[in-house]
Amino acid sequence: MAVLNLVQAINEGLRQALEEDERVLLLGEDIGKDGGVFRATDGLYEVFGEQRVLDTPLAESGIVGLAVGMAAYGLRPVAEIQFLGFLYSAVDQIFTHAARIRARSRGRYSCPLVVRTPYGGGVKAPELHEESSEALFCHMPGIKVVVPSTPSNAKGLLLAAIDDPDPVLYLEPTRLYRLLKEEVPDEPYRTPLGKARIARAGHQLTIIAWGSMLEVVLRAAKDYDAEIIDLMTLSPFDRETLLESARKTGRVLIVHEAAKTGGFGAELAATIAEEAIMSLRAPIRRVTGYDVVPPLPLLEDHNLPSTERIVAAIEDLLRY
């Protein structure tokens, strides 16, 4: 087993997908010769050539729309959008087409497409380079949303996403790209979509997080007997695991980077309030980014959930 960071694990996953299945093609801006602005596709153009690793013109709706056609024709395109903030112009292609072609054609066509994109904050990058608008895509029946949190689940989830017969939005926490390294099995393997992971078992409260926030939560909660759930797939999310843990601990804290109002934490809280409320001993708390336009680097630390804010919420919950 090699010791890899998250972006290396993704690179390895992509390489193995290309090797395993000639239907797999990569497309995106600067993913060819340049190897991607974060080097996620480093070396793949050289090995697989411009037939399978396509540099595209600067057109995000175009990239996704093209990939929809490729997927419907029978390929398994993996599109890279350079940053989540640039996916907004492709929302129409995702919502109107990728998510619906199976339903619209009553199964005659489908869309086995993966859209990969770096996302999230904490990297002091320019405007639109730190968006965390995952919730938008979780309200759209027909697509899946996946967020890895470690090198090994990054690779496994990516390969599972490529296998999936439906479109998957695969959000790569930029802050984690080179933050942690771990041993990653060499062979291709799949981490099932739709299943959460108990990152740490515990009894006093349940904390739900994903992506880059998981790492913050693990640090913040290290002195508490918290059950920490790494959601990994946001849509469809693993209701059973969440509800079981909420029923067990009776206290729930949800942490995400995105603005609070309408964030994905709302759905998780609502689900628990609908299905496990009778087991709760305390309010369901959310520690999130504020309801503000995502700030530039000098202010971003004021906006992102900090260990202090998480600890304060834990303490508050434990008082009930």
Binding site: L25, Q51, R52, L54, T56, P57, A59, S61, G62, V64, G65, L66, A67, V68, G69, M70, A71, A72, Y73, G74, L75, P77, D92, Q93, T96, H97, I101, R102, A103, R104, S105, R106, G107, R108, Y109, S110, P141, G142, K144, P165, D166, G194, P236, R239, E240
Partner: protein, 356 residues
Amino acid sequence: MPKTPIAQFQIDRLSILDPSGQIDEDLMPELSDSQLLQLYELLTYTRMADQRALDLQREGRLGTYPSSLGQEAAQVGSGFALQKNDWVFPNFRELGVFLCQNYPLELIYRYWTGDERGLQSPEGINIFPMCIAVGTHVLHAAGAALAAKYRGDDMVAAAFLGDGATSKGDFHEALNMAGVYQLPLVVICQNNQWAISVSRESQTASETLAQKAIAHGIRGIQVDGNDVLAVYAATREALERARSGDGPTFIECETYRMSDHTTADDARRYRDPQEVAKWQERDPLLRMRRFLEQQRLWSHGDQEQLELTLKERLSRVVKAAESTAPPSAEEMFRYTCHALSSRQQEQLKECLNGGP
């Protein structure tokens, strides 16, 4: 200010068959007599099937419906040129193209009653679902073309759209991609002069729509869209070029929407009836019929016979469409993804128990 010219472009217009039924022999594409008759039958079938849809709508037996009246030549001329292995990415007003591909008409009627199953293209017919979001589907055609090129398949993707659709950003992104990758793609624009109430002149300041191709370094041509032979010839040429690796073409068919935008529209609110009358004279069926008659390939009796046959066929089609059992609620769930989430399973159960 004087400057150095560095690039020159020209847009041509192709027309072969004039309103009186005369053809330009030099430009006439190779078509056997039986093919010529087939073209005329498809034109007629398209018109009659369209009229039938309008009748059904008026009787409350169909939902909102967009008529193809007047655009039959643009649709049949291009649809007829396609090969079985080509893929079609339609707009929502291409009845004639569907009929050229032998797409079951009863499915189309069912679609317009609000039944998704109408868009389930039968195996062997590669038509994508009609695209309601105007202009967004040319990218899918480009993507399929790219996939076919990658695989070495002998396939051309044909996308259909209207004049209004050329204003959408996705249209340009698609043409640009097609140029960059030299895709086997033919984009066929039915410039019917109107996008609901917005006239061609208010839609864009460009003199022709064909010249939009120039922005993307691909071929563009304008065709008399009421001339089935010119549309056929231009499409066939574009398909051949695409098939032989010579890249994409954008074809503007100049035609006219003789009807309201849809059955929910009233075009008298915004357009001059004289304009409609003027285009009446350029009717695409009439001129093909005149040509065939002049060639002694067609007679009054043939016409009567054809109309009778088609009328009977249409009755059978309507019967088939209307005798189909309605879709089941379960289908909403079945086709959203390949598998149901646990929440969807619960919802399906509730839905089937509770009913609407």
